[in-house]
Every structure is written in structure tokens, then in C-alpha cells.
């Protein structure tokens, strides 16, 4: 539907659009991280596009698969023209920072906080960038691929849990225990 948006973006920004496709109707653009804010501003303000509704913000961790490591993804919707578009940006591991789109769409606030919480991608220009789901004492970013899959960080000391002896599960002979 919004092949129009892809064409307008390519005409307006040229080489700053690194990739684009509209496979199965999913219009997708990969833009340079430095020009992200201008691209988003254009998508919001252009009278033929008017992407006025923020749908989602998330990230993909391509650890040991491709470089740069993180792909930050925004989904937008135009309630006027009934079009959807996906905007992607690639950021590296050593400095995972890209522009925040919260100044354009206030609804992106908590989405970007969640992406920061789970992947550790910093959004410059975000008004309140702190964890939204995990607690402040949590160390690391749990959805990164290098986070250990069962590593837990309890806030309080846990009780020691033992197997409950039953008829089917008899208690171990204490004398034979080492």
C-alpha cells in the first residue's frame, strides 16, 4: 500500500536509505542512524503520508551473526492514509545509541524505555530513559543473546526448597548420604 512512502523517502533522502523492500505488503526501510530523526519527521509531517500513530518499538540482537549487532525497529501507522511502515536502524555494540522518536510521538516513551530495559540500546533525546519492566537493581540486559538463559537476580534471599518425601518419592536414606 505505502510503496508511495518508500518512493518518497528514496527521492527525498537518496543514499541515506540503505535498504528497502515491501515483501508481502510489509514496507520496510533501513536508514542511516544519523538521519533517523529527519526521516521520522518527514514521515510524520508529509501531507501525503501523515504517519501519526506509533505502533511499536523493539530491537533485534544479531550477536555473532552480523555486524553491527543491534537492529532497532519502529512500526508506524497512518490513521489518515491507512498505511503502515517499518523503519529500521543498525547500531553497533560498543556504542548502541540512536535518536529517540519520543519528541515526535509521545506514545513511543514506554516502548523505547522497554527496548533500553531489554537490549540496552540508548535513545538520545529521550525524556526519561530508565528501566520500565525490570527493577533498578538488575544488572545487564536480559534479552541480549549473551545473557545467560537461566541467570536470575533475586531481590531477596530465597528459601531452601527440598523434595517433599511421599510414598512415591521416599526420603533418601540419611545414612547412605555422603
Amino acid at each position: 500500500m505505502s510503496v508511495l512512502a518508500l518512493e518518497k523517502l528514496k527521492r527525498r533522502f537518496g543514499d541515506d536509505i540503505l535498504e528497502s523492500h515491501s515483501k508481502l505488503g510489509d514496507d520496510t526501510v533501513l536508514v542511516k542512524a544519523e538521519r533517523l530523526y529527519e526521516v521520522a519527521q518527514f514521515l510524520k509531517d508529509d501531507p501525503e503520508l501523515q504517519f501519526d500513530m506509533p505502533i511499536d518499538n523493539t530491537a533485534v540482537d544479531w550477536w555473532q551473526v552480523s555486524e553491527p549487532r543491534f537492529e532497532v525497529i519502529w512500526h508506524l501507522y497512518s490513521t489518515v492514509k491507512h498505511m503502515r511502515i517499518r523503519v529500521k536502524v543498525r547500531v553497533g555494540e560498543d556504542n548502541p545509541t540512536c535518536a529517540s522518536l519520543t519528541p515526535l510521538w509521545p506514545g513511543m516513551n514506554w516502548h523505547e524505555r522497554e527496548t533500553w530495559d531489554m537490549y540496552g540500546v540508548r535513545f538520545s533525546g529521550h525524556p526519561n530513559l530508565k528501566r520500565v519492566l525490570m527493577y533498578e537493581e538488575f544488572v545487564g540486559y536480559p534479552l541480549r543473546k549473551d545473557y545467560p538463559i537461566t541467570k536470575r537476580q533475586p531481590l531477596i534471599e530465597e528459601r531452601i526448597v527440598r523434595e517433599v518425601p511421599t510414598q512415591r518419592n521416599p526420603p533418601p536414606d540419611m545414612l547412605n548420604q555422603p
Binding site: M134, P142, I149, T150, K151, P154, L155, E158, R159, V161
Partner: protein, 174 residues
């Protein structure tokens, strides 16, 4: 003070404590079944509902399955007035301090039921954010499996807890 006085005092103290404990045990032995019977039919609930099992808890509390037939229908939303805490749903690491605090605020005698597989063992959430069973936070009396459990299972679990309360000893005077 002479030595004899000290010895005399000790003997007196010992005898008095002996008498007290004998009296206490006798009262408990005679009154325990009746007190347990009245406790098990007047459980005041504290529903600690954190997840989707709450819908099933509501249906058990409703008129069709009718938890009121066991005298356990009355939810108290203050832990200080509750006897029984229902842990209904997943306990996350962020939720764990709250659960322990609620449990510590409840007055003795108190019981706990882990409702559903998440509260019992963590369920399929074997990941960074989920406590692997509410028994790692507070002691649990009855575990009800299921995702979510059927209302019949819940009533069965409640009956198990009532049987447990009936056979309890030494909780008359805390």
C-alpha cells in the same frame, strides 16, 4: 543473698514453668479438635492475584462452584485480617519482596495455597524474571497444579488444606 535462696528460687521457677506447660498442653489437647474444626470452616482469604489464574479463582468464588459451601468465600483485602493467602499466578523477582511482606503481615495462624503451576514451580517460565515457585519465598501448605486448574481441583485443594488444619497440633496458643 544466700546460696540457698538462689537454689530455692530456681526450684520454684522450674516448678512453675512445669505447671504452666502441663496446663497448656492439657488445654490444647482438649480444645484442639474443636478449635481446628472452627478454623477450617471460617477461612478468610487474601487473594494475591498476579496473573491469568485469577479468572479461574473468580469462577470458583462465584455461585456455580461456590467456595462459600466450605466457609472460605470471604476475601479480606488486608493481610492483617486474613488466615489464608492464595498465590494466584506467576511470582516475578520484582514481586517477591511484596509477597514476603504481605505474608509477614498476616497474623498467626496462617496458611498458604499455591494456585496454578506458575505459583507452584514457576511453570514454563524458566527464565530471568520468574521465581521458580512461591515456596522459595514463603512456606506453602497446598500446591494446586494446572494451567489454570479446574475449579474442581481448586475445591479439592481447599479440602486438602481443611484436612491439614483439622490434624494440626500445637497452634492453639501462639
Amino acid at each position: 543473698m544466700k546460696d540457698e535462696d538462689i537454689i530455692h528460687n530456681e526450684v520454684l521457677v522450674t516448678r512453675r514453668s512445669d505447671a504452666e506447660s502441663w496446663l497448656r498442653q492439657t488445654i490444647e489437647r482438649m480444645s484442639q479438635p474443636g478449635i481446628n474444626w472452627s478454623r477450617k470452616f471460617s477461612l478468610f482469604n487474601y487473594p494475591f492475584v498476579t496473573a491469568c489464574c485469577g479468572m479461574e479463582f473468580m469462577s470458583v468464588n462465584g455461585p456455580r462452584y461456590d467456595m462459600a459451601q466450605y466457609g472460605a468465600e470471604f476475601p479480606r483485602f488486608s493481610p492483617r485480617q486474613a488466615d489464608l493467602i492464595w498465590i494466584v499466578g506467576t511470582i516475578t523477582q520484582k514481586q517477591a519482596p511484596i509477597l514476603r511482606r504481605v505474608w509477614e503481615q498476616m497474623a498467626e495462624p496462617k496458611w498458604a495455597i499455591a494456585f496454578g503451576v506458575c505459583a507452584s514451580t514457576g511453570g514454563f517460565y524458566d527464565n530471568y524474571c520468574t521465581v521458580q515457585g512461591a515456596d522459595r519465598i514463603i512456606p506453602i501448605d497446598v500446591y494446586i497444579p494446572g494451567c489454570p486448574p479446574r475449579p474442581e481441583q481448586i475445591l479439592d485443594g481447599l479440602r486438602l488444606l481443611m484436612d491439614k488444619i483439622q490434624t494440626e497440633h500445637g497452634r492453639v496458643m501462639v
